[in-house]
C-alpha cells in the first residue's frame, strides 16, 4: 500500500468566538478484514485507521474511534470554537501501530 498521506483543510485566521470548520482526509485502504483474496480464498487481514484525534494546543477537541465500516480514505469534518490563537494537531493511528500526524496554525483576532 502507498504511504498514507494526511490532508487537512483548516482556516488560518478566525475572529474570536467564531465556529471554524475543519476538514481532514487521509489516504488509507481501510481493509475490513472481511474480504477474501479471490485467488487464494484467504481472508485479507484487517488494516484500518482505528483512531483519529484533533487537538488544539494539546487539548483534545474532537476524536473518532473508527470501525471497519468507515470508507477507504477516511474523511472527517468537524468544528471548533475559536477562542485563542494556537496550533492544531491531527493524529491518525493505524492498526499496525503507525501514527500519522499533521499540524496547522490558527490566528485568532
Amino acid at each position: 500500500m502507498a504511504k498514507s498521506k494526511p490532508r487537512v483543510k483548516a482556516p488560518k485566521k478566525a475572529s474570536k468566538g467564531d465556529i471554524v470548520t475543519i476538514k481532514t482526509l487521509i489516504s488509507h485502504i481501510m481493509e475490513t478484514g472481511l474480504r477474501k483474496n479471490k485467488k487464494t480464498g484467504k481472508i485479507i487481514p484487517r488494516r484500518i485507521i482505528n483512531k483519529f484525534q484533533a487537538k488544539f494546543e494539546g487539548t483534545e477537541i474532537f476524536s473518532v474511534d473508527l470501525d471497519p465500516a468507515i470508507s477507504a480514505n477516511p474523511f472527517f469534518q468537524f468544528s471548533m470554537k475559536a477562542e485563542k490563537s494556537g496550533e492544531f494537531e491531527f493524529i491518525w493511528t493505524d492498526d499496525n501501530g503507525e501514527v500519522y500526524s499533521k499540524k496547522s496554525k490558527l490566528t485568532v483576532s
Partner: protein, 151 residues
C-alpha cells in the same frame, strides 16, 4: 464480465434494490437485534429518546462503499452542557458498529461528517450521549444499490 451499457446497469440496480426490499422483512429482525445490543452497550441499558439529534444521509446510495454521513446534535456545547459521544450503528452490516465520535465543549457545535460503508439497504442509527447522562437517537433508512463490504 461483459460490458454493460448505462441502461442495463441502471436496470440491474433497480432489480437489486427491489430484491433487497423484498428480503427486508425477513432480515429486519436480525438487524435490529444486533443494533439493539450495541445501543444497550452504549447507553448502559438506559433508554434513548428520539429527537435532538439529526442524522443526514442520502435516501439512495448507488455505491455502498462510500456513503456520506452527517449528523447534528442540538446542544449549547458549554462546559456544563455538551455532547459527549455519538455512536453510528448500521445493523445490516456484517459488523454493525461504524464509528464513535467524541466531542468536547471546545467543539463549538456538535456536528460532524464522514463517509461510511453500507453492505445493503438498511436503517442507520445514531445515538448521542449528553453530558447530563441522557441519550438521544435518530434513525434513517438508506437504500443501497451496490453493497460496500467486499465479497
Amino acid at each position: 464480465m461483459k460490458d454493460l451499457s448505462r441502461r442495463e446497469v441502471l436496470a440491474l440496480g433497480s432489480t437489486a434494490a427491489a430484491a433487497a426490499l423484498f428480503i427486508n422483512p425477513l432480515t429486519a429482525h436480525a438487524e435490529t437485534d444486533l443494533a439493539k445490543d450495541l445501543i444497550k452497550k452504549f447507553t448502559g441499558g438506559k433508554a434513548a429518546t428520539e429527537g435532538k439529534i439529526k442524522l443526514e444521509m442520502p435516501e439512495i446510495a448507488e455505491n455502498g462503499n462510500t456513503v456520506p454521513l452527517s449528523f447534528t446534535v442540538e446542544s449549547p456545547m458549554t462546559k456544563k452542557d455538551y455532547v459527549k459521544r455519538v455512536i453510528i450503528i448500521a445493523g445490516g452490516n456484517p459488523r454493525p458498529e461504524v464509528a464513535t465520535f467524541n466531542f468536547s465543549h471546545l467543539s463549538g457545535v456538535a456536528k460532524a461528517s464522514s463517509r461510511m460503508r453500507l453492505a445493503k439497504t438498511q436503517n442507520v442509527i445514531a445515538v448521542a450521549e449528553l453530558s447530563d447522562g441522557s441519550f438521544h437517537m435518530a434513525k434513517t433508512e438508506v437504500k443501497v444499490t451496490i453493497g460496500g463490504c467486499g465479497g
